[in-house]
């Protein structure tokens, strides 16, 4: 999210320090989502001070049945770069969704989004990724 390992490490350590401070006061973080929520806000703060991505309208295409084969040809770093270039809160929504560790309620809680906002972020993310995928890894022609 920050684009820099150093900043990410600072945020990681600050988050843990905050958790330790709360635990020392007898109010430890209630669950693991607290860590993600806290770290995300810190990331957004840091990112807000840096260079901002250009806001643009991304083209979108319906998800293709051939997408799995196209995705198989990608390197993980390509996906990471694509997600990190998405605008907030879509970037966080996609990152959390594809980690496949949280249900939609946890994601809504961590991102402070309503269901329709989360749904829109993920659905449009899928379509935009498919557009990018079509441009980057064209699907094999049907036999």
């Amino acid at each position: 999210m920050t684009g820099e390992a150093g900043k990410a490490q600072d945020i990681f350590q600050d988050t843990l320090r905050e958790a330790a401070f709360l635990a020392a006061k007898g109010e430890p973080p209630p669950d693991r989502t607290w860590f993600f929520r806290e770290a995300r806000w810190r990331c957004l703060d840091v990112v807000a001070q840096g260079v901002q991505p250009e806001q643009g309208t991304n083209e979108s295409t319906e998800v293709s049945p051939h997408a799995p084969e196209q995705i198989e040809q990608l390197e993980p770093e390509q996906l990471a770069i694509w997600i990190s270039a998405a605008p907030e809160p879509q970037r966080s929504a996609l990152a959390l969704y594809y980690l496949d560790e949280f249900n939609y309620r946890e994601m809504m809680s961590m991102l402070g989004l309503k269901l329709n906002e989360l749904s829109r972020a993920i659905a449009s993310g899928r379509r935009e990724f498919q557009t990018w995928l079509n441009a980057t890894v064209p699907a094999a022609a049907p036999e």
Partner: protein, 255 residues
């Protein structure tokens, strides 16, 4: 996915990548309906492929080191003492205790209730508020007053029970009360005890006086009353103080 309702469509867009992870009934409903819709299978294949790629993302050794002491971040486990003294738990505990005490008091009141409890309690208030000057001075034994009540006020069976019949009186009054009817109030010299005689409550169906056995105690604002019913008339001895102040009179053998 256009044939799904808007709510279910939104949920289907956030469908868990592994179906077994559906967190609630709404999501399970959305999943079962979405599976019948064209395009959902493609979405799931797409999501599984992306998730697989995410899982394959290498984590650098530098970042792995951050999590070397992962256990350190776990909050201190609460023991039962910490949990019990948590303000929320404490507040709930106190509230439950208060509810239990109030419920017990109400239950105890119900257990000791008798026909005429409300009237007797009202007369305890009367006892607390009556000034000595309101009594007509009568100095005699309480047991002899039944003749006075009958001859002067036509009050039949207004007899002071043997437990108090030998007590010396200092005053008497008879008054009408909305609830109790005609009430005879006697002031005794000893311990400023007051005696009340008033009609017992009548059964609405049979019209007969509602009776009960033995002495019943009631308490109200520092006053204690011992109540008995005989021949359709309730007798109450009232004293300012606890139950034990009246108990010695009631345990006396009948003469």
């Amino acid at each position: 996915m256009k044939r799904l309702s808007r709510g279910l469509r939104m949920l289907a867009h956030c469908a868990p990548i592994e179906n077994a992870k559906a967190p609630d009934r709404r999501m399970r409903t959305a999943l079962s309906r979405a599976k019948r819709i064209e395009g959902f299978a493609a979405q799931q294949s797409f999501d599984r492929a992306v998730a697989k790629l995410v899982q394959a993302t290498p984590v650098s050794s530098e970042i792995e080191e951050w999590f070397a002491n992962e256990k350190m971040a776990e909050g201190a486990k609460r023991n039962w003492r910490k949990t019990a003294f948590h303000p929320a738990i404490l507040a709930i505990g106190i509230a439950l205790a208060v509810i239990a005490v109030v419920a017990w008091i109400k239950f105890d009141e119900q257990m000791h209730a008798f026909p005429g409890t409300a009237t007797a309690k009202k007369l305890l208030n009367v006892a607390a508020m009556t000034r000595p000057s309101e009594f007509e001075p009568v100095q005699t034994e309480a047991g002899t007053l039944n003749d006075l009540f009958f001859m002067k006020y036509r009050l039949e069976h207004y007899d002071v029970p043997p437990e108090f019949s030998r007590q010396r009186t200092i005053g008497v009054r008879v008054f009408d009360d909305d609830e109790a009817g005609q009430v005879a109030q006697i002031s005794l010299a000893e311990k400023r005890i007051q005696l009340f005689l008033f009609p017992a409550r009548r059964d609405s169906k049979t019209g007969k006086p509602e009776e009960f056995q033995g002495w019943r105690y009631i308490e109200q604002e520092g006053w204690t009353g011992a109540v008995q019913v005989r021949k359709g008339v309730l007798f109450m001895a009232a004293v300012r103080g606890p139950k034990k102040d009246l108990a010695p009179y009631l345990s006396k053998p009948k003469e």
